[in-house]
Every structure is written in C-alpha cells, then in structure tokens.
Subunit: 144 residues, 4 copies
C-alpha cells in the first residue's frame, strides 16, 4: 500500500543535514536505517528550537514507541538533504510527527514517515502530560 | 494501535548481536534508530546464510521500500540481544520480513517490526523476480 | 604528549556538519568515534569537490591505513560544527590529511587529528600513483 | 612508520562482536571509523565486567582524550570479529588501552590501536584518581 508522495509545500519547518561518508552503504546510497536518524535529529531539533525542550535537563523526555518510513527515492553522500517536520497529532502525553526528506531543489519527498514520542518523567519513566506552553508552541507546525 | 507482543516461539531463525557503546544515546538506552540496524543486519544474514545471497556480487540486490517498528521495552549496552527473522510474505519480486528483538532469557519481544525488500537488478535497478531456489530456501522460515 | 591546539586561521577548506541526535552518547556529548566520521566526511568531500574524485566510479579509491585524533573540547548535538581539512603531505600514492574540528565562533580546535589515504586500484587493490592533476588541485590546501 | 603487527597471544581479554550491515561502506568493507566503535565497546566492556564500572551510575566516567588506529587488513559484514584489550599503562587518573582486532581463526591483528581514558567526576568533570580496587582488577590485563 503505497502512500501519496508528500510535497514540500505541506511543511514549514526544515532542517538541512549534511550527509556523511558512512551514510552510504555497500550499494552506494544512504542506508535505509540512516533515514530514521535524520527523522530523529530533525524532530528533536524542532522541540529544542521551538519549545525550549532540553534533552539533557528537562524534567520529561520523549521516548519513541513506534515509527515507520516509506522510501521513495535514493539519497547519496555527499548531498545535503532537508528534513521536514510537522505535528500530525498531539495527544495527552504523546506527539505524532509527520516527517519527510527532500533532495535540494526537489518538491517531492525522497522519503516520508512518522514516529510517536511518549513524554515521560526522566526519573520515573511514567507518562507526563504535554504542557499548554508546548502545545501552543507546536500549534503552528500542525500538519495541514 | 498497539500490536500483540510477539513471542520467541513464533520464530526459528535468530541472530545474536553484541550491543555497542554508541548504541546507547543520551537517555542511557539503545537509540530507536539502532533497532532498524539490528533488523537490517539479521534479515540480510538470513539471506546470506540460507539462500546463498552475496551482497557484493549477486546479480540482484534488495532495496528497502518501507519499514516500521514498535518499541515495547528498553535495551541497553552492554547486553547481547537476539534478533528473530521470519518471512511474512513472498511476492513476485518482494519479500516482507517479520522481525523481533529479544532480550536474553526473555520470551516476549522488546521490539517488533517488519520491512519490505524489493529485489532489483544491481545495474539497471529494475525489479527482478525471486527465483524458485530462493523461495524454497526461505519456505521453512515462513511466519506461522 | 599533548599537541599544540590548532587554530582556524591555519585552514582554508571547511565543511559545516549538522550534528545528529545519535552523535551524543550516554555522557551527553558527541561520542569520540563520531569525530572520525566528521574527518572522513570532510576529507572525502575535499577530494570530491576539488579534484573531481568520484567514490562510486573513479578507477582508484582511497583506503585509510592509519588515523589519530586528539580531543580538546566536548561537542554536543544540536550544534553545527565545522571541519577543517588541509593536506599535510602528498607521497607517491598516499595522502596525509591534517584535520581539525571547530565549534561555531571558536578559533581553537575542539579536536584535531590526521589520517592517511593510500590510493589503490578499485579492482586489484594495488597501490596507484597520485596524478599530476590531483596534486595540482590539492596544492592550495597544503598545511602551512 | 608501520608498527609490528600484534599477535593474538599477546592478549587475554577478547570481546566477540557481530559486524552489522551498515558497518560496510561504499567500498564493501568495514568503514575505518567503525573500528573505533569496536575499540570503545570492548574497552568499556572490560571495565564493566572486570572492575564493576557502571557507565550510568558510577561517580566517575572515562573521557577519551586521544586515540589512534593502524589498519592492517580489511574486515567485512557478516563476519564476527574479536576485539582484544590489554592495559598499556595506568597513570594517576588515566588509562591507556592497547587494542587489536582479529578475524576469526587469525593470529595476526587486522587492526591495532590505542586510546586514553581520563577519569573525571561525572558532575564536575574534574579528574579523579583511579582507585586501588580498579588498579588491582586491571593488573592481570596488563600488556606484556
């Protein structure tokens, strides 16, 4: 079941990432696993830049409970890619990210996926509600 | 939508993997991205060991077109984990793997997921049918 | 035996690299191993951009025979770092890179090191002399 | 300046590591950077197993201040490699590891190197002396 390919215009937050030599595997393209590393990096950067989240000291942390990706097109070092992040859904204590990777100059996603963060207390690992401040900060990045 | 947790008895192929220092992220547990690296490693090892596939010289290669994972439990270096692989479905030129990760001594999966390989010609990248020999070799690893 | 800390003014080629979530290890800083990934990425990018080297199709490839790094300062996701590359020595068929990593806005290297590429024929893996064109292209990046 | 190739008989601590799909780079062999990941994993495992060090809770942590590696031979997924660790020198608050990687069934090192851990207080990051207990526990792993 192939999904409709995401378009650049559907997003407003983008993080450029320099690919690395070792991102390329034996087949000469970026290994499928590495796309998730791009997703993880971009989604956490959105949290850090837009909500003040600090992965080293905030009282709560986001644990990934599920993720998925559809690969539309090959990527390859040394290109610089752009990772788009939108917020698909905000639950009581969970956040579903809508993610896509674009080649420079391309409007159609080379890959697209999503993952869910459940926010938990850093010490007890019990789920913790998402604050009003964080909801407000993320509102403008909601998926259309 | 949480899936039923997979059990060790559902699998017959297991690859033990030594976790590494850098598998642990800032939160002191194996980063979610790394689980896909375990999946990729174990599924390709099944192909190599049981079907004679050679990633460096075979005429065809397997490209991942989609993948997903549900995280049930934290893992942490320095533990050795076991990755289970079964074949969920064999299509004309695609293979869907059913994957699960077990902590040593545990019967319930710490994570479970799937990914799809489409086999293509190494040079032209056109899809190529899965041979009868490969189908026969994989038959005994079919998901129940 | 601690080396003198390298300065930004000693270099003319810089590659900015976005750090990634998983670059940070358990201790909340970029894992020492990852610095070598920054080095590898930047040195190969210099070859690709300035000498026309193509890792996928050139008749020769560069194999690393030794490397080293001195860590002066901690780095941490989500910062963007800059990797400086100079050519320390060009031999008959080998290239020694002089490398340093700078935090944005800092003149003193957070880390510095070197590695040696021996160029070999892609097929036979026999050493192959560095061409005059490549020497000329790299001349302007020589270490002072 | 090539070093004498290390031999298996020089070591008494070995950690087997399953190589992973993504360890192989574009050139079809384990990327040079990954060797350092094997070193880091094996040396920390020696600390954990033999001295009771706990990277998540011990009062002190080991920070890498320098490292180096000489690459003698190619490695390639899916092989299982063995990483040997010995203690080259114990200082007031630093530990120099003597490391080597062996292919299964081979007595000569495929790679060899060293790195230095400086132990510091987890909070203040000030250097902290190595305890008598740790010195005693590591004594039997001293390099010959």
């Amino acid at each position: 079941m192939k999904l409709t390919i995401k378009q650049r215009a559907q997003y407003s937050f983008f993080l450029p990432i320099q690919t690395r030599w070792a991102d390329n595997d034996l087949y000469g393209h970026v290994n499928n696993v590495t796309y998730y590393s791009y997703f993880d990096t971009a989604a956490n950067t959105l949290l850090i830049q837009k909500t003040g989240f600090d992965p080293k000291s905030s009282a709560f942390i986001g644990l990934v409970v599920s993720s998925n990706c559809q690969f539309n097109q090959e990527l390859s070092y040394p290109e610089i890619i752009e990772v788009a992040v939108a917020i698909e859904k905000i639950g009581q204590s969970s956040l579903c990210y809508d993610l896509a990777i674009f080649k420079q100059g391309s409007d159609s996603a080379a890959a697209q996926g999503s993952f869910i963060h459940v926010f938990v207390d850093r010490q007890t690992r019990k789920s913790t509600p998402i604050s009003k401040e964080m909801r407000d900060a993320l509102a403008e990045y909601a998926s259309p």
